[in-house]
Symmetry: C2
């Protein structure tokens, strides 16, 4: 597309680097922005340019924040003795949106995956163990994805917390709300049956 102006071409290329956005979508987004006011487009550009400025990991829970300690860990009303362990930031956001969970988090920033060459040392597991060993933690809720990697990571954490005086739990498995029994896989059905609850 050599006849497209260089700035347009460049923006299309940048968009198409994003996951799930192919060339067609990248073109559509770029021409959408070209129809927007100059200021709106510049604001988007500025947001991206400044995205990573001053962002670092919370020293306690590895949540992304602009201070040393994140807002959740600083919040007086949250129960510091219950830690919900999540794989990544998006899971933390989902948990915060969904639940009235009043404990704190620990973000691993990944899962153990031999296929992708991710071992325990690449994750924030040591930090989690240290938090528990520092004492006063009552419960660790492993809110990891029910995938092979999630299970392996959970098993690794459980093994490394052996001998610690802490309750370790995990999220319930079952039929998702709005889901359909007919389409549920056998593993999910089996676990939903095992963990059935009284009406």
């Amino acid at each position: 597309m050599s006849h497209l102006p260089e700035n347009i071409q460049r923006t299309i290329e940048e968009f198409s680097k994003l996951p799930g956005i192919g060339t067609k979508s990248a073109e559509r987004l770029t021409f959408y922005l070209l129809r927007k006011r100059d200021q709106d487009v510049r604001e988007f550009g500025d947001a991206l340019t400044g995205l990573k400025q001053g962002i670092n990991y919370c020293q306690i829970c590895s949540n992304l924040c602009t201070k040393d300690i994140c807002g959740i860990c600083q919040n007086e009303s949250r129960n510091k003795n219950v830690i919900c362990v999540v794989e990544e930031m998006l899971d933390l956001i989902a948990m915060e949106k969904a639940s009235d969970f009043k404990g704190v988090f620990h973000v691993l920033h990944g899962v153990i995956s031999p296929v992708e060459g991710v071992g325990p040392d690449e994750l924030r597991i040591a930090e989690l163990i240290s938090r528990v060993k520092a004492g006063d933690i009552e419960e660790i809720i492993l809110a990891l994805n029910p995938s092979m990697e999630g299970e392996a990571t959970a098993a690794y954490i459980v093994r490394n917390l052996e001998g610690q005086d802490v309750k370790i739990t995990r999220l319930a498995r079952g039929i998702p709300v709005g889901g359909d029994l007919e389409y549920a896989d056998t593993q999910t059905l089996r676990q939903a049956m095992q963990n059935r609850s009284q009406y």
Copy 2:
């Protein structure tokens, strides 16, 4: 999501303003970028900030370009006597990718749509009429979408070119390549039958 750093929140909001990108996707894209190198993210930001700089309409065909006349209109080897009329830039790009069309274009930047309050004056139709009246145009190919608005716009152009010595054609209607007869609508089938060609 008040506990997310302001820069992250802002980028999520900017992404979710884009068509077809909801909050979940915007979050996913933002956290994807947060895992990228600082420089990569800045380059994306710079591309957007500079996107609209120096972009204007070709004085002949209304293609977007950085000069007064676009590369296609300047190209000596293109036939200036055949004009392919398209609704928008994405259509021009699609035509350029697909065909070995050697004529030039005219971009209307929209279609007549009473529902959305777009009349002929909002489009580059007058410029097209002027091009034809200036003489030497042999053929106008109306490559508009086969939608109500596309048809209305085509009809309006045809009416305004009455009495001009120019051939007006439109793209063939028929079964798309890779398409399935079974799923084709009756209008398409009817037109495909009418315009059938000899083997």
